[in-house]
Structure formats: structure tokens, C-alpha cells
Subunit: 265 residues, 2 copies
């Protein structure tokens, strides 16, 4: 799916009010995964736009999304509820449905917009990669046969093994990522981006996996430019696996961190 | 707080029915943290007992808890809601309140009880420690001046640096853990145990931290005996930090994995 829309993220995650605590969205075909359904991170970002509009504090800090059913392209409804309106932190929940059937349930805690002065500490610097212009585009190796690939740009030092038909056996990856369009990611956009890459269990030869639950910590808005992404799965337990994703901005600052529990099938 | 109760976990996390989707609990003073309030994992386990009783599938697989207010010792009410009754997976939410004020909101997905035959893979074996009987008890170094310490047994190869007044600067720890009483942990009990150790940011000299959100993956019931616990914080961002905890059973199998987002104050 190609698009001439200069802001596909903003267009496709927009929500319209539909009464108190009720919102409408239109899920498009531009964010489909290899499962041929709208991506979970795309649903989460859309839900967070509705929730953000109803919360007393502006910035999402942490969001947990539980996926109940696959979504389809078309209209969707979102209902929101404020669980705890606070001054420093405020928590709400929201459910996105289609035809009365819930698709995803989200709980998110927001914080205020003051510049935070708390302490920072990092166990290790951001992973190093050759400059993006010295890396290969994913599209050099792969036809975009599902649409979300066209919404992001990916740059790899070496193409993933699975892409050449030889899964490496190491379910991890480090690469550059940025939106395909000229849209500067904010915190909600990051909640989509942590779920916008191929599952690293592809490197174990497992190509069908569905997210049960995804939690994302949204630490900072990134500075403009490429983001560094590291994804890894360390545990696959009787068909269930976690995947951790971290995103750093061009200044080397951690901006978001996610973990999902997924199920092979 | 000492106790002659041979099953303090079972006694203190029990819930009594109070109408459809409503439960009552009695929070005791036996699970207090250094903040002198009942531990978040203790609240989560109690809520999961209520939710498990109302769900169509028996085994919790993943739970996300968002902490809204500190709890106090005394009566608490739990309301549950089934969000998606499924045959393979089923999701519900629950809120624990005291005097009409919500304390913690939990979303949890359960699965059926069939023996799972899916694939397993591990990035690395469980960390190795000297045998528990060759390790030091935490109580050798520390007076149990808050009660949850007495509910667990901890064995360390070397006592944590912070305990001797010299934070190591490395916010990680590996140690043995098991319930103090002779209670064999099940999946719900593991949801308490992932939150039952001292925050590893103590090793950064940060001694006041409160959990905002905790997600736990409950993979397997452990075999009897000591569990190996690894806890680490890799990112502290402007006062907010994650903490990852993994638990392995005596057979070296991963049984649970958690991540929490916490806030220094």
C-alpha cells in the first residue's frame, strides 16, 4: 500500500469525539503485518490518542496493551475511563472495539509536562552501528508485501538471516529505524515504533507469532533523526516468548523500552 | 512481624466472595516493605486469586498491575470483569479498593491447563550460584525491620553492598529465594515473589522508589525447592527506572519474568 499522504501516522491514528469517554477511529490498510491484520502498535497508538485527550495530564509514561482479537480495516470505537486523576501521575484505561467486540484493552499512566530533574544512569551506552547511509535498506532485500514495512525506514549493517532464508539461530537484532514520512515521533508514536519491526523469533525459524500483551515505557521524546533499535528474545517457553525492544535517539539517549509476551502458532 | 501461621501466603492472599464479580480481602501487616505499606506483589497475588475464581481458564499467563495509591493494612474490596472469555486465552481486569478508593488495577490473561507442547529455547542457562547452604542468609546481615523480609528466605553469595552501607554502583543482584514457610509456590505466588526483593537501585544509593506498573509473565509452576533470582536495572531516566526480575526453579527452568517501572522520590 503506497500513499501520497505526507503524514500517514497522524492521519491514520487520529480519533474523533463521539460523546463523553467515547471516540471513533478509522483503521486503515497501511499498517498491516505479515498476519495481514492491522499492527498491534498501530492500535495502541490510536487508543493512546483517545486516552490522552481524556486524561488530566499530557504525557504517557507507561502503557500496557492486551490484545483480545485481531483487528480489521475499517471503523473502530474506543471507550475511555479515568481510573485515577492525579497531579503527578494519572491513570486511565481504554478499550478499542469493532462491532461491539473488544480488540485491545489498554491501561496507561500519564505524567505532567514539567521538565523532569530526576537522576539518570545507564548500564551501557546505546549500541553502535555504522552510519545509516552506510547501512543497507531493508527494502534492498525484501519486497514490501505487507504494508507496515512501507511506513518505516529500516537500515541494517547486515540483512537479517531469516530474510535470506537462513535464520541465524540468534533471536536478536540491532538496526536504524525512522518513520518513512517526514513525521517527527512523539511519545505516542514511539509506542507504535517499538512494535514496528519483524519479530526476532524469525531468526529461530518461527514465522507465526501473535502478541498477547505489550508494555511500553515512554521515557523521552526523541530528537529529530534516525533511532537505534535493539530487539531481542531471551526466553521461549513452551510456545510463549518475550521480546524486548529498546529505542535510542540520535543523541544516544534511551527514549522507549518495551516488552511483549507473544505466542507461537 | 512474626507468625506461627504455617501458611501465611495462603492465609493472607485469600479472598471471600461478596456477590457477582465482587470479593473481599483482608490485607495484613505481614507483607510490608521499607515504605511501611503492603507490598505491591502481595496486592497483585491477592487480586489474582479473585480474578482466577471468575475466569473461565485456570492459569494466569501474564498480568499487568498499575499501582494507584498505597494500600493500608485492613479490609479491601476487589471487583472483577471478564474482558474476553476465550477457549485458549481469556482476559479479565480487576480493581482493588479501600474505602471506595482504587489502589491497584490489574489486567491478566489466563490460559488453559493442558500440558503445553510448544517449543522452548533459552538464550542462556540460569545463573549459577554456590549451593544455598553455602550462601549467607540475608538475616545474617540485616534485622527484619519490615515484615516482608520475614516471609521469604534469601541466600546471597556475598551480601549486597548497600546492606553494608556501601552501595556497589551496580544495580543488579543474583540470589536464592524461597518462601519462609513451607508453602510450594504456584503461578500466583510467583507474581508476589518477583516483587519480594529489595530494589536493586539501592546499589545506586537510591533507597526510596515506588512502583508505577509491574508486568509479570508466568511461564511454569516451579518444582519444589529454592528458586534462583536475578534482578537488574539497566535504565534510570530522569527519576524513572525499570527493574527486571527473572526466577528459575531448582531444575534450572525459567518460571517467571517481570519488569516494573518505578519512580524515585
Amino acid at each position: 500500500v503506497t500513499t501520497n499522504d505526507p503524514t500517514p501516522y497522524a492521519s491514520d491514528t487520529a480519533v474523533r469525539p463521539d460523546g463523553a469517554g467515547r471516540w471513533r477511529a478509522e483503521l486503515t490498510d497501511r499498517w498491516e503485518t505479515g498476519n495481514k491484520t492491522p499492527n498491534g502498535g498501530y492500535l495502541l497508538a490510536t487508543v493512546l490518542h483517545a486516552l490522552a485527550a481524556d486524561m488530566p495530564l499530557p504525557h504517557p509514561l507507561v502503557a500496557s496493551a492486551t490484545f483480545l482479537r485481531p483487528a480489521t480495516v475499517g471503523p473502530a470505537q474506543i471507550s475511555t475511563e479515568v481510573l485515577r486523576p492525579g497531579r503527578r501521575l494519572a491513570t486511565g484505561s481504554a478499550t478499542m472495539s469493532q462491532e461491539g467486540r473488544p480488540l485491545v484493552h489498554v491501561v496507561s499512566t500519564f505524567r505532567d509536562g514539567d521538565t523532569v530533574s530526576g537522576r539518570s544512569w545507564e548500564a551501557a551506552p546505546a549500541p553502535e552501528l555504522p552510519a545509516p547511509e552506510d547501512c543497507a535498506s531493508l527494502l534492498d532485500s525484501m519486497a514490501p508485501d505487507f504494508s507496515i514495512i512501507g511506513r518505516m525506514q529500516y537500515r541494517f549493517e547486515r540483512p537479517p538471516g531469516w530474510l535470506g532464508g537462513r535464520p541465524s539461530g540468534d533471536p536478536s537484532a540491532t538496526f536504524w529505524i525512522r518513520p518513512e514520512a517526514d513525521e517527527q515521533p512523539d511519545l505516542v508514536h514511539l509506542a507504535l515504533m517499538v512494535d514496528a519491526a519483524a519479530p526476532v523469533v524469525f531468526e529461530l525459524g518461527e514465522f507465526v507469532t501473535a502478541t498477547v500483551e505489550l508494555t511500553v515505557h515512554l521515557y523521552r521524546a526523541p530528537v529529530p533523526g534516525w533511532l537505534t533499535c535493539r530487539a531481542s528474545t531471551r526466553h521461549l517457553v513452551e510456545g510463549f516468548h518475550e521480546e524486548d525492544v529498546e529505542l535510542w535517539d540520535r543523541d544516544g539517549r534511551l527514549v522507549a523500552q518495551s516488552r511483549q509476551l507473544s505466542m507461537l502458532s
